[in-house]
């Protein structure tokens, strides 16, 4: 099961995407709250939703006004799902009946817009059930006004009671004091009780007649939620550049992905997100690169876009092929809870054990960010090597980011952060030397290429760390010793 913790969703930028949705209706809001990733068996429903996002993107321009009007009907409305569900077993009170009536009127109001929208978009599996019969029950006089009153026309007895009550009230208006008023007042108390009783009986009857129409009402709430969410997904796809994913058996291909949360943050600082491309097969893929090199950003972006596809969003990529996983697991030191009283390293191991134990539960996506970084490098490397070899043979797509040596060759594929690879280090060094103040780190960050490239054969150690030391003006004599150490490895 894909069941990420809130902190994990927040960390990879999924919560940011959810927060960027601006649903118009309380039903859309509810749908976002209850959003769950689809499992492989739910593929048809996922495809329906994805196709609908596509159709909204294509057809929106043809019916923009109708679409806006339709969505506006339920703006500021109250979610009355629990009231409708309650109606199945109990009599509704008059305030609840009012809310049901208003909902039914809103459905009538949205109907013509809905039809115009559907003519333009042909959304799959999105229908509006006819609930006019229910409205008829709550508005027998065809006033079509959004207020509710237990009308005299519901029962001759009610009409008679109210007539009597009115007559007594007239007496009380006319006679300010004395026995005549007191008699009228006492009588009125009894008649008001009769009215209450008769109204109660009618409310019971009304609720009962509404009962067969409950499924239709709930269906329409679902339709509103579905429409609202689909339109919002399409809006985000346009805003951040989403693409219809191809649902594959096991292969992941994500080209030029972005992560909106990080992209927006960089944008604010006048920088740009470097798109990430990767393709993953069953087995372990290792990502290496120097610190400062954006391995974590790459991992978050991969996890985010895979999760988005599972939730019926268009991944924010140029091209996307994604399989449906039974499980998704992120193991990252900064996400392992310290509240369990374990060291961060211990927390990671406990978490890994849980994942390893559940490998039989189906096809999984596993992400390890700098696994075992909290322990000493010799032991850490040995642990990561073993974990990589073990995961490489399992029914899972695994991505590991590490800066430990001799791990990459144990996986099925190896990616490296481009980093400073294609850069003229000498030119940048001059730039840093000629600029004022402490801007070295800033300049390196700006020239660092955070993209990934696939390493096809065994390569030399990337030496980005050495380059960074050089750029930041480490003493020449120490640099010479570092280089000497590289040669002797």
């Amino acid at each position: 099961m894909i069941d990420l913790k809130f902190e994990q969703k927040e960390n990879i930028g999924f919560q940011y995407v959810l927060d960027a949705l601006q649903p118009n209706s309380p039903y859309g809001e509810e749908a976002i709250r209850k959003l769950k990733p689809f499992t492989p068996t739910e593929k048809p429903e996922l495809l329906r939703q994805l196709n609908n996002v596509h159709r909204v993107m294509d057809g929106e321009a043809l019916c923009q006004n109708d679409l806006n009007r339709m969505l506006r009907v339920f703006m500021c409305a109250k979610n009355i799902r629990t009231t409708v569900v309650k109606c199945a077993e109990a009599a509704l009170n008059e305030i609840e009946l009012f809310e049901v009536k208003r909902f039914l009127l809103q459905i009538e109001e949205m109907k013509p817009y809905f039809e115009a929208v559907q003519t333009a978009m042909h959304l799959e599996g999105v229908t509006l059930e006819d609930t006019s019969e229910a409205l008829e029950i709550l508005d027998p006089e065809h006033n079509r006004i959004a207020t509710f009153y237990i009308s005299d026309s519901y029962s001759p007895r009610l009409r008679a009671i109210r007539k009597e009550k009115k007559a007594l009230e007239d007496v009380m208006r006319r006679v300010k004091s004395g026995p005549e008023r007191e008699e009228a007042q006492a009588k009125r108390v009894r008649v008001a009780a009769d009215e209450e009783h008769e109204e109660g009986r009618i409310r019971g009857e009304l609720s009962e007649s509404l009962r067969p129409l409950i499924p239709a009402m709930l269906h329409n709430m679902q339709t509103i939620a579905d429409l609202d969410l689909t339109v919002e997904k399409a809006r985000l796809a346009k805003k951040y550049g989403g693409v219809m994913p191809e649902i594959t058996e096991s292969r992941v291909v994500l080209e030029n992905m972005i992560n909106p949360q990080i992209a927006d943050l960089l944008e604010e600082r006048g920088k740009h997100f470097t798109p990430v491309s990767i393709s993953l097969e069953k087995g372990a893929t290792v990502i290496t690169g120097a610190n400062m090199g954006g391995k974590s950003v790459a991992l978050k972006t991969i996890a985010l876009n895979i999760l988005l596809a599972h939730c019926g969003f268009f991944p924010f990529a140029g091209r996307a092929s994604v399989p449906l996983f039974d499980g998704m697991h992120i193991i990252s030191e900064d996400l392992e809870s310290i509240d369990r009283g374990l060291s961060s390293f211990g927390g990671e191991i406990v978490r890994f054990n849980q994942v390893a134990q559940n490998m039989s539960e189906g096809f999984a996506f596993i992400l390890l960010d700098e696994f075992a970084r909290g322990t000493n490098p010799d032991e850490g490397a040995a642990i990561v090597q073993a974990v990589t070899s073990w995961l490489d043979t399992k029914n899972a797509v695994t991505v590991l980011a590490t800066h430990y040596d001799n791990v990459a060759q144990l996986g099925s594929a190896h990616y490296q952060v481009i980093g400073l690879k294609d850069l003229d280090v000498e030119a940048l060094r001059n730039e840093i030397a000629n600029s004022h103040g402490d801007v070295g780190v800033e300049l390196i960050a700006r020239h660092m290429n955070y993209g990934l490239y696939r390493v096809e054969e065994k390569q030399d150690c990337p030496r980005d760390a050495l380059n960074i030391c050089r750029l930041l003006g480490m003493r020449e004599d120490i640099l010479a010793m570092v280089e000497n150490n590289y040669e002797n490895r």
Binding site: F98, T147, F148, K165
Partner: protein, 343 residues
Amino acid sequence: MKPTLSELIRPYRSVSIIGMCKNAGKTTVLNRIIREVAGNGQTIALTSIGRDGEDKDLVTGTKKPGIYVAEGTLVATASELILHHCDVTREILETTGVSTPMGDVVVLRARSDGSIQLAGPSITKQLARLGDTFRTFGADLVMIDGALSRKTLCSRSVTEATVLCTGASYHKDIDVVVEDTAHVCRVLTLPELEEGETAGQLRELDEEFRGTLLFTEKGPWQLPAGLSLEDGLRRPEAAGTKTVFFGGAMSDGLMKPLLMSSAPLKGMTFAVRDSSKILLKRENYDKIAIRGIDLRVMESVNLVAVTVNPFSAYGFHFDKDELMERMQARVDIPVINVEDNAL
């Protein structure tokens, strides 16, 4: 001929009614206005701050008159009270989403005469929005059953006019009733700060500002936290202070040492947001005027009448003419006896 209460409130579209204490006759006044105004064919809308209209006064156990509305009246009250404690025939108009301990506030139209109980919003902003809702349903006069402890809700930004109810239930000594009521009237009707640069700058101020601002010859200077005003006024930064604005409450603890000090206060203006911020004992309040300070508010209350109830819920009563006369001698606005039929 003295004007009646309904004549006094006729020019206004919204009125709040507040009492010096429980059983001061607030509900009687409400019922009178409802009867008279509804008789003119006007639509009244009713709500309250907090809960009122209970059958029994929760404190004294005395029987209280219920609010009896006429057909056509608009009412905003908590859903529990509508469902279980109203005997009018009801048309539900709107659910507001404003919650109270007795359910959300719902707006209804009375389709018969009958009694209701009120429990409305307790936040100024919600009350203002409710006023708009009432108007869309055709209200001519919005009446708010208020509370003395919530004076902010009487500000003219919320209700255009206010009626203060007092009576024998407040205290067994008629002198205390008259003097305390007169004091509350004076505080409620403090004049507004005159238009000008200072008033303009204060209007720009964040509503949540709780500090003290000195308007010196060089402009506004905020009194540093921990520094008393009497010491602050001696600082060079305070040179030429004409006006002092108190963002927080003006309490006895704050004002007494200042008023006893030798600080040169004569001719200064002290300003607060509204009269709810003045929490002073009468002796300290009176010293402000004695020291030659001009006390002002940003937003005043438009107090149009004081009603008196000579009967106490505790079983004694004053002479109604004596109470009327003595009260009228101490306030500039009309004083009206709640039990008087000419109300």
